[in-house]
Amino acid sequence: MIHLKSAYIRTLLVLGSLATLVVASGASDFWN
């Protein structure tokens, strides 16, 4: 169970990193 949770957390961290990269690169709807 703990292992499963950490896998989900790592996945969300990677998705968060990608989202950060895209928002900083543009994603005008975030900034307008």
């Binding site: 961290l13 990677v14 990608l18 990269l21 900083a24 690169s25 994603a27 709807d29 307008n32």
Partner: protein, 198 residues
């Protein structure tokens, strides 16, 4: 969450899962220098907070410089499927931003769809946007001129670079759901090439 990000992530996840990828395989990825992206976003948010309505002249230059950090992240992870497409979107956006003084240009008539009191030459408060008439916008076809229905009251305004970013994000997320061996071809050792016809 910005819709551009939401659409990219969801499209990539749905495609990946339909192709029997795994959601948690994404967590097995090792994105290099990801923290530079966090720094770049933090710098950008701080810049527009500092700028307020005055927009000191150094802010647009610092904004363009923050894109260098993002470019480093993309280059460091260029072998990750889809990230080069993210890099292309980034380059399209920074090209039009740099060509127009360091902020993303948007035509006033487009901006008025979301901000009825938008005035030419103004900066949109708390944004990276400057309102410029199309005829005086360099590379206007890369600017925020695409108006899309958002499913909400106000439409979504995006640049071509934003759409490429969304496609790149979808491709990256799709690729990361795939088995590790699929994501990138290993670089062959010199020894492995011996015996191959030259």
């Amino acid at each position: 969450m910005p819709q551009i990000v939401a659409v990219g992530v969801l499209a990539g996840l749905i495609a990946g899962l339909l192709m029997r990828g795994r959601f948690t395989a994404i967590g097995e990825a090792h994105l290099r220098l990801w923290w530079l992206g966090v720094i770049a976003l933090t710098v950008q948010v701080l810049l527009i907070r500092v700028a307020g309505e005055g927009m000191p002249s150094w802010v647009p230059a610092a904004h363009v410089a923050s894109y260098l950090l993002l470019l480093v992240v993309v280059l460091a992870n260029r072998r990750t499927f889809g990230l080069l497409l993210v890099g292309l979107g980034l380059l399209l956006n920074v090209a039009v931003i740099a060509a127009n003084g360091g902020l993303m240009p948007q035509a006033p008539e487009t901006a008025r769809l979301r901000h009825p009191d938008a005035v030419t030459g103004d900066y949109l408060l708390n944004s990276k946007t400057v309102l410029l008439p199309r005829q005086s916008t360099r590379l206007w076809w890369l600017s925020d001129f695409i108006v899309l229905p958002s499913g909400r009251t106000l439409p979504l305004i995006a640049s071509p670079g934003d759409l490429v970013l969304a496609a790149g994000l979808a491709a990256t997320v799709y690729g990361l759901t795939r088995p590790a061996g699929w994501r990138s071809a290993p670089i062959p050792n010199r020894g492995d090439l011996k015996g191959l016809p030259s």
